[in-house]
Structures are given as structure tokens and as C-alpha cells.
């Protein structure tokens, strides 16, 4: 076998590893019910803010704790706790993606990242926080 073929084969093997790695590390868009059932696993959950329920951010008490209620696309609702300051354009956003997990089945959803879908003006601009 020619050297070059071996090298190409190795490259293909790495490409497959990358593919598998992407699949293994990927998350899924899901809902609160599923996430609660599989507590401990991380999910992306797309939802709408429930503005009727309180949004709590009291920086004087704790600058790194923000709580709110989110209703997912299937209609399940959960309290979400985010250990960062309240994103400043939060009130304006109509759709919210929370990334995180339930640590306990009966606990609150702990988000470690929040993506906001705002009516953003600059199309190319990421809205990740």
C-alpha cells in the first residue's frame, strides 16, 4: 500500500472520530418533562417567558442569581435558575433558549447558558449571552 493511501485512511478515521464526537457531544432540543425525567442530563429547551409569574433578580442580595418561569413549546412550565446576572435585553425577548439541566427530578431547571431571540437589527450579530 502506498504511503499516501495510509495517510488518507488515517485522515478519514479522524474525520469519523470527529463525526462521532460531534454526535456524542451534541445536545437535543427538548422539553421540561423529558429533561425532568432524565435529570442530570443537559438539554436545550426553547420556550416563552411567563411574564405573569415573578422574575427575581435582586443584585443587592446576590448579583449572580436570576430566577424566572419559562413555558416550553409543549406547554410545560418550570422555574429556571441562572447563576449569572439577568441578561439586560431579557425583558424584550420573545423567545428564550435555556441550556442546562435538572439536577434533581423535583428541583428547578439550572441553566448555565441563555440564548435570547430578540428582534435583532443586525442580522449577522449573535445574540448569545
Amino acid at each position: 500500500m502506498k504511503t499516501i493511501n495510509i495517510i488518507v485512511l488515517i485522515a478519514i478515521a479522524i474525520a469519523i472520530a470527529i463525526f462521532a464526537g460531534a454526535y456524542a457531544d451534541s445536545s437535543t432540543y427538548s422539553d421540561f418533562k423529558t429533561a425532568r425525567e432524565q435529570a442530570g442530563h443537559e438539554f436545550h429547551i426553547v420556550g416563552k417567558l411567563n411574564k405573569q409569574k415573578p422574575m427575581v433578580y435582586n443584585p443587592l442580595l446576590d448579583a449572580n442569581r436570576f430566577e424566572f418561569y419559562l413555558m416550553d413549546s409543549l406547554g410545560f412550565e418550570s422555574k429556571v435558575i441562572y447563576s449569572e446576572p439577568k441578561p439586560t435585553d431579557f425583558d424584550r425577548s420573545d423567545k428564550v433558549v435555556v441550556i442546562g439541566k435538572f439536577e434533581k427530578q423535583d428541583g428547578d431547571f439550572i441553566a448555565n447558558k441563555i440564548l435570547l431571540k430578540c428582534p435583532s437589527k443586525y442580522e449577522g450579530e449573535p445574540t448569545a449571552k
Binding site: A15, Y29, H44, P85, T88, E125
Partner: protein, 853 residues
């Protein structure tokens, strides 16, 4: 409906714009056709000249569109939707340029403008390659100009979106304002430019990036031209310097974006693995691989097939990136339907056309060509027809799978054709040859690009296969898993490859040289370990790889090239790459968030998860952060920006400075810009993550007054703190007050948990009446009235009325990060760009010399 004659509109300028867009479209179409015939009739002079002059006219028209649109924005003609949507009267002229890249139409225009510039430069410089290369450039221009046409066919289908549309056309007749003939008098200002774009980096970063995107047409056009004219190999010489230009400009554009993010976005870094960033990184990685493959081919005649693929791919990837960022598929991950036939439909049509172009160019045999034409165009028409009347899910699904099939067929056919055209060489590649090492490097660049592209394409994959996969929750860890080892391998390859000669090398000599540089690198990396305080073995390997690249390439210039600096472009670019790697390693691995909140006790579940990286700073507070004492000194508002003054004082040294991170508050939204103190060895970076809404706080209602009878030394306990009546001021009348009223003041001391305040409410007796002067301490949330009363039995007593509300707190929530040695990264970039420039000069000279022969 009655027709309304509108007054005050300047329609002439818009009509000029429409005319120029139409002209640009027609001239590019004509130029493309002329160049096409010129190519097919073996460089027919008459067709060629026609193509050339149409292209010149086209370039003029595009410049004209640019000027017209700028005139509309500059003249504040808000009857035009583009000016109203993206600008306002208060914008300085240089930010008016930024309006171009805020909107879609403007950015297509920018791309088209750069393409026109590139086209003209190519006409001047490429001589005998003019016809086929410009035919491809003109085709791109037809496509781009059509994006600006704004022609509506019926109600459903529109071609392009014109930047010269009137506001009333875009807004339809829904708004009652457009029923007034003098509606323009009501529109006094535009909606303005996104504050994030009002930054000097945003004036130069997007045009540079778009120039980079536009330049990717060059290797593409040359490769297609080579296949088309069957001059399979000659195109490489003129294409090489141009491809280097593309690498340099796109790379500069990307890193400018990173620097902009670092200087003015508040996510705390220069790279976030965001899909939009990734979409521009992937073509760049492939371009770099392409340059190396071209060099291999030029020197040894091998790797021709991959050279073709890597020359064609960047432009395809740029088209794909445009589709990703402009179709809304990225921003909308779950509820978006496939029926959007705005510009995204048009973009898909173009990808469809360009993707087949290489296959059309490589197929020569008449019958095959006919078959390809019939098959391809019938599917194309099928797509257009069903794309317009797409009310049936089943047809759409069939169409989707058909298109995936077409995509795969084209790919396979093209690769098979390439193999037929260029039979694989029989010679055994040797590890003693430079080309093999470069080839391996190119493969690793491809793998790096593949990983980035794969995850960035998740939304597309979801749409195609109705799947539900989301990007990894921790992007940085995920990317590092593969990108770190790939970077290490690339660094080692960069260090050693140049020592090998093409074809075969005296291995003994190479080994001796490399052992020498490797020994030096180990010593330097060892020093770096202590300087940077990096001790993790994995990072040390990374550090060693970067150092090895720097040392080896430096030694190559001094020892092998004997200081012939004209030949050293590649080595210098490699040194820049090594510096960048070290800079990236140190600034990310040793990045330290110093604003760690240590006061709050977290509940059971939050303890480990909480990042606690943001800290509350009350005005006047001083908090220790790493080696600094940091205090918040208050804010000042200048124009739309509020600046928050944060004072840093070094502990145990005389270092002190003030950072003023700022923010604009618009519609309740805080747009924060960081401020950074730059040192040679590190940066101190600060941004505000949240601020209290002052107006909201001061509009809170006061509670009811409660009355307390007090005598000197008494203490009243309120919800907001203790109030002590310290003494009575017998003559509290201000000196400059002319009134002949007698005034007494109560000297009050207020003790809250945080601070002590004073207040002095006043009681005054006028001729026949009395009144009080309130005193308010907002920061304690207390309001006081004071009066003195005599009871019927003659006893005189003092009373204080106290009203409470939540205290107004002046504070910021901020985050501070120290980035060590980030200047190595920026410096590395500059060195790399210099290297590219030198390589461009050298390769251009080579090409000129070869032409003169």
C-alpha cells in the same frame, strides 16, 4: 383606492438608484455572455473586448449604486426605507458607512462592489486568462446584482430586495400615516444604527471581511477556467499570488472581528465559536490548505486533484456561509418552516447553480454534456416550479431528497471526472519529501475545518432530516477536544516541513538542523513554563509546539535562507502562526476572572454550578480583586452613553488607573461596552453586566409619614436604618436667604447597615404661619420633616415625621478579567500578515518573470 400625490419626496435619487441596479445587472449579464463566447471561440478578440467594456461599465454602475445609496443616507431622505431603517440624523458620516452593512441589501452591495474591484484588477493583470476568469466573476455579479433587483412577480415570488424601496412601499398601506400626502413631514428621523455598530472597528471590520469573502472567487474562477479551457495546469501560477491575497484579507477580516468583539462586546473574549464566526473561519482554513497544495503542485506536479478541490471549495463555503447567516436558519432553531421564499430561496438557487459549475467545466464529451444539461436543468426547473407552488408537503419532501441526490451525484461525478482527467501518479511519496509533510498539514487543516463546519451546520441538518440535534452545551470544551491536538500537530508540521526539500532530502542534515532547533525550543518552552505559570502537561506540549514553530522558522531564515529576506514570506507567516498559538494558549488557559463574588453563601444545589463571576459594587465601595483594590466611583452620562468609573489601585505598587466601561440604555436594554487597560504583558478588562434602573428607583412611592416625638440624643428605628436626633440647629437659615423667617434645623444622623448619612429637615416660622422644608436621603430611602410644637400646657417639643421607601442604590454589577500575554496573539497576527504580504510580492514577481520568458 384613490391615488395620493405625495409631497416632499425626492424620487429622482431613488430612480437613479433603480436605474443603476438595472444597469449593473444588464452589464454583468452582457459581460458574462460576451466572455463566455470569447472563451468558447478560443479567446475571440471581439467578444473579449465587448465583455471587458461591459465589465468596466458594470463596475461604474456598481460604484454609482454605492454613491447613490450613500447620498440617500447622508441626505437623510427618510422616504427611503433603507435610510429610515438604518440611519438617523445624529450619525457622523463615518458611521453612515456602517449603515451599509447593517442591512442585507447593503452587504450584498458591498460584496458586489469588492467583486467589481477584483474584476477590474484581474482584467488589468491576468492577460490570457481574462476571458474564462472574468466570465466566472461576471456570473457572480449577475447573481449579486439580482439580489438587489427587487422585482416582484405576482404576490408570492420576488427577485432580490432593492435598497431603493420607498418606506411607504415596504410598509404597505397598513400604516395610516401613508394616507396623508404630506406624511414625510411627520417622519423627522430614522430608526438609527445599532449602537454595537457605532464603533470604529465596525467601520473597518465588515468591509475587510467582505473583501475577504469576495476574493474567494479568485481561486474558484481560475480553477474553473483551467478545467473549462483544458489548460489544466497553467492557471496555478497567476492564481497563487491572488489566493495569497485572499488568505491575507480574509484572515485580517476575521481577526478584526475578534478584536472588535474583545474591545467592545461584553462576552469577555475574542472568539466565541459562534456560528457566524465559524462560517467565516471555515473558508479561511480551506484557503490556507489550498495555498499549500498549490505550492506542492507548482514544485512537484502532484496533488493536482486536491488542488482543484481546495481551490473551488472556499467560494462554495462562502456561498454556504452567506446562506447560513442570511436565511435566518441559524437564528431560528426550531419553529422556522421551509417555506421562506424571501432571499433564502434565491440564495439556494444560486448555490444550486454554482455547485454544478465545476462539473459543467470539466465535462468535454458532447453526449455527456448534453445529458448533463438535460438532467440538470430539468431538475432545476422542477425546483423552481414546485418552489413557488409549494403547498404540498409530500412534493416538498420528494423534492428535498431529489436535491440531496443531485448534490451527491454532482460531487461524485466531479471527483470521478477529476480522476479520469488526472490519473494518479505511480511514484511513491516519501517521508523525505517536503510535499508529503505539506500534504499532511493540508489534511489536518481540512479536518479542523470539517469539525467546525459540522457543528455549525446542525440547523441545516435538522431541517434536512427533521432531526432535533442541538450544538454541544459546552462549545469551548467540545471544540478544544479536536482543535487543540490538531493545532499541536499543525505547529509541529509547520516547524519541520520547510527543512525538507521537494522530492527528496538528505535526512541526516535535516535531523541535525531540527534537533538543534528542537533543543532551543525545549529550553525556551521551559522558560515560558515559569513565565506563564503553565504546568499542565497538555498545555506544555502546546507551548512547546508553538515555540518549536517560532524557533524553527526563525532558524530557517537565518541558517538556510542565509537571511535572504525576500524569500522568507512563508517562514515569517509561520512565525506569526506560532506566536498566535502561544498567545491563544496563554491568554485563554491563564485567563483569570478577578471579580469573584465571595460574600454570598449559596444554597445546597447551587454551590458547584455557580460561577459567581459578577460582583456588586456600590458607589464608594472598595473591594479587593486579585492584586488590585477596586472601587466604583459613580457614573457620568455623555450623549447616549453612560460611563461607569471604576478605579483600580495596585496593591504593593504604584499602579493605578481608571476604567470607564460604558453602556447605552435603549428600550430597557443595556448595551454594554467594556473598557480595557492594556499592558505589554497583560490586559485588565472590565465590563458592566447590569445596572439598576435609576428612574424606576426614584419613582417608587413614599410610604405614609409616621410622627415621632424626639429630644436630643433620641434614636428612632426605621426599616431602613437608625435615625439619631443629634442636635438642634438654632439658626438653620441659609445665609443668602433674604426672608425674615426664623428657622430651626434638626441635625440627623442615619445609620444603615452599609453607611452613615446625615440629614437636616428644617422648621420655619414666617410672619403669621409656619412651614417645613423636607430633607430626603435617597440612598437610605428616608424622607424627613421637622417641626416644633407647643402643647396647651406650654411645653415645647420637637417632632420628626419619617417616610420610607426602598433605598436608591447606586451600584453596578461588573465583571473583571485579566488576560495575560494577549499581545502575543495580536502581534502574531501582524507578523503573519506581513509574511503573507512578502509571499504575495515574491509570487507575483515569479509569475511576471515566467510570463516574460
Amino acid at each position: 383606492m384613490n391615488t395620493i400625490t405625495y409631497t416632499g419626496e425626492n424620487l429622482v435619487i431613488g430612480n437613479i438608484g433603480h436605474f443603476l441596479v438595472a444597469l449593473a445587472f444588464c452589464t454583468s449579464l452582457f459581460s458574462g455572455i460576451a466572455y463566455f463566447f470569447s472563451t468558447n471561440q478560443s479567446d475571440n478578440r471581439r467578444w473579449k473586448l465587448m465583455g471587458r467594456y461591459s465589465f468596466y461599465l458594470h463596475a461604474l454602475a456598481v460604484t454609482g449604486i454605492f454613491i447613490t445609496l450613500f447620498a440617500i443616507i447622508y441626505g437623510h431622505y427618510f422616504e427611503y426605507q433603507y435610510a429610515w431603517q438604518h440611519s438617523s440624523r445624529s450619525l457622523p458620516w463615518y458611521y453612515m458607512l456602517s449603515c451599509f452593512w447593517e442591512g442585507q441589501e447593503g452587504s450584498f452591495l458591498l460584496w458586489m462592489f469588492w467583486d467589481a474591484v477584483i474584476g477590474v484588477l484581474l482584467i488589468i493583470s491576468v492577460k490570457k486568462w481574462e476571458s474564462p476568469v472574468l466570465a466566472i466573476v461576471a456570473l457572480t455579479q449577475i447573481v449579486l446584482a439580482s439580489m438587489l433587483l427587487g422585482i416582484e412577480i405576482g404576490d408570492v415570488y420576488k427577485i432580490g430586495s432593492s435598497p431603493f424601496s420607498l418606506l411607504r412601499e415596504k410598509m404597505a398601506m397598513t400604516a395610516p400615516i401613508f394616507r396623508m400626502s404630506d406624511y414625510l413631514t411627520k417622519i423627522t428621523d430614522g430608526k438609527g444604527l445599532n449602537p454595537l455598530l457605532q464603533n470604529y472597528w465596525m467601520v473597518i471590520h465588515p468591509p475587510t471581511l467582505f473583501f475577504g469573502f469576495a476574493t474567494s472567487i479568485i481561486p474558484f474562477a481560475f480553477a474553473i477556467a483551467g478545467l473549462w479551457t483544458s489548460k489544466y495546469k497553467e492557471w496555478l501560477k497567476p492564481a497563487l499570488p491572488w489566493t495569497l491575497v485572499s488568505v491575507m484579507i480574509l484572515g485580517t477580516g476575521i481577526i478584526m472581528g475578534g478584536f472588535w468583539a474583545y474591545e467592545s462586546l461584553s462576552f469577555g473574549g475574542y472568539w466565541a465559536w459562534d456560528p457566524v464566526e465559524n462560517a467565516s473561519l471555515v473558508p479561511w482554513l480551506i484557503l490556507i490548505a489550498g495555498v499549500h497544495l498549490m505550492l506542492i503542485y507548482k514544485s512537484t506536479g502532484t496533488s493536482i486533484i486536491l488542488t482543484y478541490i481546495f481551490s473551488i471549495a472556499p467560494f462554495m463555503l462562502v456561498l454556504y456561509a452567506t446562506f447560513l447567516t442570511r436565511s435566518g436558519i441559524l437564528g431560528d432553531t426550531s419553529v422556522h418552516s421551509f417555506t421562506d421564499l424571501g432571499l433564502s430561496g434565491q440564495l439556494m438557487v444560486f448555490m444550486f447553480v454554482f455547485y454544478a459549475l465545476p462539473l459543467f467545466a470539466i465535462i468535454k464529451e458532447k453526449r455527456q454534456k448534453l445529458l448533463l444539461n438535460i438532467g440538470y436543468w430539468s431538475i432545476f426547473i422542477l425546483n423552481i416550479v414546485f418552489g413557488i407552488v409549494n403547498n404540498n408537503d409530500i412534493t416538498l419532501t420528494i423534492l428535498k431528497w431529489l436535491d440531496i441526490g443531485v448534490f451527491l451525484t454532482i460531487t461524485v461525478l466531479f471527483i470521478v471526472k477529476l480522476y479520469n482527467t488526472f490519473p494518479a501518479s505511480r511514484t511513491e511519496e516519501s517521508f523525505k519529501s517536503r510535499e508529503l509533510w505539506m500534504f499532511i498539514g493540508s489534511l489536518f487543516l481540512l479536518l479542523s475545518a470539517f469539525q467546525v463546519l459540522l457543528v455549525t451546520s446542525f440547523p441545516v441538518i435538522n431541517k434536512l432530516f427533521n432531526s432535533n440535534i442541538a450544538p454541544p452545551t459546552d462549545a469551548i470544551t467540545y471544540y478544544n477536544k479536536f482543535q487543540l491536538p490538531i493545532a499541536i500537530i499543525l505547529a509541529f508540521l509547520t516547524a519541520i516541513s520547510q527543512y525538507f526539500k521537494y522530492k527528496t532530502t538528505d535526512v541526516k542534515k535535516v535531523t541535525v538542523n531540527l534537533l538543534k532547533t528542537f533543543a532551543v525550543s525545549i529550553l525556551l518552552a521551559f522558560g515560558g513554563m515559569y513565565l506563564f505559570q503553565i504546568f499542565e502537561p497538555y498545555y506544555l506540549l502546546f507551548l512547546l509546539a508553538g515555540t518549536f514553530t517560532i524557533v524553527s522558522n526563525t532558524a530557517y531564515i537565518t541558517d538556510i535562507l542565509k537571511g535572504k529576506i525576500k524569500l522568507a514570506g512563508g517562514s515569517i507567516a509561520h512565525i506569526g502562526f506560532g506566536l498566535m498559538l502561544v498567545g491563544i494558549l496563554v491568554s485563554s488557559a491563564k485567563k483569570e476572572v478577578i471579580s469573584i463574588n465571595q460574600t454570598v453563601d449559596f444554597g445546597e444545589s447551587m454551590d458547584e454550578k455557580s460561577r459567581r463571576e459578577n460582583i456588586l459594587m456600590l458607589k464608594g465601595d472598595t473591594i479587593r480583586m486579585a492584586d488590585y483594590l477596586v472601587s466604583y466611583m459613580g457614573d457620568t452620562t455623555i450623549g447616549p452613553n453612560t460611563y461607569y468609573k471604576v478605579y483600580y489601585k495596585g496593591i504593593g505598587n504604584s499602579d493605578e488607573f481608571i476604567l470607564e466601561p460604558n453602556a447605552q440604555i435603549q428600550n430597557n436594554q443595556l448595551m454594554a461596552n467594556p473598557d480595557t487597560r492594556h499592558y505589554l504583558s497583560h490586559d485588565v478588562y472590565t465590563h458592566v453586566t447590569n445596572v439598576p434602573d435609576k428612574s424606576k428607583q426614584t419613582s417608587e412611592p413614599w410610604g405614609e409619614f409616621k410622627t415621632f416625638k424626639v429630644s436630643k440624643g433620641d434614636t428612632v428605628v426605621t426599616g431602613n436604618g437608625k435615625v439619631i436626633f443629634e442636635s438642634l440647629d438654632q439658626n438653620a437659615k441659609p445665609e443668602n436667604l433674604r426672608l425674615n423667617h426664623q428657622m430651626w434645623g434638626a441635625n440627623l444622623k442615619i445609620l444603615t447597615t452599609k453607611k452613615t448619612y446625615t440629614a437636616k429637615p428644617v422648621f420655619a416660622i414666617a410672619d403669621k404661619s409656619f412651614y417645613t422644608i423636607e430633607d430626603v436621603v435617597d440612598e437610605a430611602g428616608l424622607k424627613f420633616q421637622f417641626y416644633i410644637k407647643a402643647s396647651p400646657d406650654g411645653e415645647v417639643s420637637a417632632f420628626i415625621d419619617i417616610s420610607e421607601r426602598p433605598p436608591v442604590r447606586e451600584f453596578i454589577i461588573m465583571k473583571a478579567i485579566v488576560f495575560p500575554y494577549i499581545n502575543l496573539l495580536w502581534g502574531g497576527v501582524i507578523v503573519m500578515v506581513i509574511g503573507f504580504m512578502m509571499a504575495i510580492i515574491k509570487r507575483t514577481k515569479d509569475y511576471r518573470r515566467s510570463r516574460e520568458k
